[in-house]
Amino acid sequence: MRIARRRVAAAFVLLAALAAALLLRLSRTDPLDGSALPVHTADPDNGEVLFHAGSCGSCHEAADGAAGADKGLPAGGAAFSTPVGTFYPGNLTPDSETGIGRWSDVEFLNAVTRGLAPDGTNYFPAFPYPSFRMMSVEDVLDLHAYLVSLPAVRSPNREPDVPMTAFARLGVGLWKRLAFRVPRFEADPSRSESWNRGGYLVNGPGHCGECHTPRNCLLIADEDRYLDGGPHPAGEGSVPSLRRLVERGRYKDVADLTLALRFGETFGYDKLSSGGMSEVQMNLARLPESDVEAIAEYLLSLH
């Protein structure tokens, strides 16, 4: 009797250990290694374009009063509220202690496209890597080159205010397995070069879908409602659909939407300054005009 009870207990412990091991295994995202890196001469100017296309500076802005931090530098630390908790996006300046100064190219690539920190833990997807995984490796390396060209700011990283943070990070690993199944944007050779550029910018670095595509109950982008708008992630108001923009009378044509994205409210496009969009618009205004036009061309093709 006692032996039987001990056996049951042992089996139970074994099962629990197996479950834990399985959870750990499943929650681990396989990192890319050095063989993922192409031969490439990094172009920091292209990196700067991507930095603005991705509105990186808008989330990674310096916290008020960060020592010596120019507000324009992505020193991180300013609070970013989401329904899951409050995050303090990291320091993207090349400070060797608190920033990305010691990161290798492959570590940077794993962070941006796989959501993996250099220590192998999962970043929360408030960092929009499900979109960034659609970026080309060359573009990510160019972005890295741009960031390390910035002045270093000392701004220590801060853990997010999320319940059971360490455990939740394991959950993120499982979540990624599902979230990464959403198909990547693929180039369409039957479309113009500009449409393809626009589609890449919208889906990859621009990560428009993170707000404009509603999420399902697992907080994964709902492909069936791609860029079709929904409740605002911060909880106030709604995010407009980016589909049928001409049919819905929002914009006349590509030229009209291009002006809207470049100038926003200054040119009377008053819808473009709520819910975080004014920052996005002002970041897009820093892209080459041809890129903004490409984004407009792609968006107006969505029905």
Binding site: E236, V239, P240, S273, G276, S278
Partner: protein
């Protein structure tokens, strides 16, 4: 002994009249609060529409769809400046909801001083734009007004489809 003194009919009537008057006054006050909150939401939405219409005339110049005309600039920047001056009274406490849907965020009343500062900035930019006489100064002045609009809307207006 021990009996309540009978109220004389005059006192009773007076009390009754007073109570009725009080109830009526309260009802009227309540209704007027509701009505004013509804009207004020409508009024400010009208003011924003007026600004939007004037902005369209100005942006037509910026987009080079219309020629630069100092008179048109003065008139429309004037409409915007006046509407923004009026807006100082159009966001009273309690007007965060009403029968008319409003996109004003409750944050306005959580930090009214900041909201008012942003409104004042926008008004001063519209006043500055009003006196722009040469084309070269128009774009930058319009840009400053646009940024003032963006900054306030981003903080205090809910996004909508």
């Amino acid at each position: 002994v021990g009996q309540e003194p009978e109220e004389d009919p005059v006192t009773r009537n007076a009390k009754h009249a007073l109570a009725t008057a009080l109830a009526a006054a309260l009802a009227v006050a309540g209704a007027s609060v509701a009505a004013s909150s509804m009207d004020v939401i409508k009024d400010r939405q009208q003011a924003m529409d007026d600004i939007g219409d004037a902005m369209k005339k100005l942006s037509a110049i910026a987009k080079k769809e219309a020629p630069f005309d100092a008179g048109v600039v003065e008139q429309n920047a004037g409409i915007i400046a006046d509407a923004l001056a009026k807006a100082a009274d159009l966001f009273p406490e309690g007007s965060d909801e009403g029968d008319v849907e409003t996109w004003a965020k409750p944050g306005i009343w959580a930090d009214y001083a900041d909201f008012e500062k942003k409104r004042e900035t926008a008004e001063s930019k519209a006043v500055a734009l009003r006196s722009v006489a040469v084309e070269a100064a128009f774009g930058p002045a319009l840009g400053e007004l646009g940024n003032a609009c963006k900054s306030c809307h981003e903080s205090y207006r809910r996004p909508k489809d």
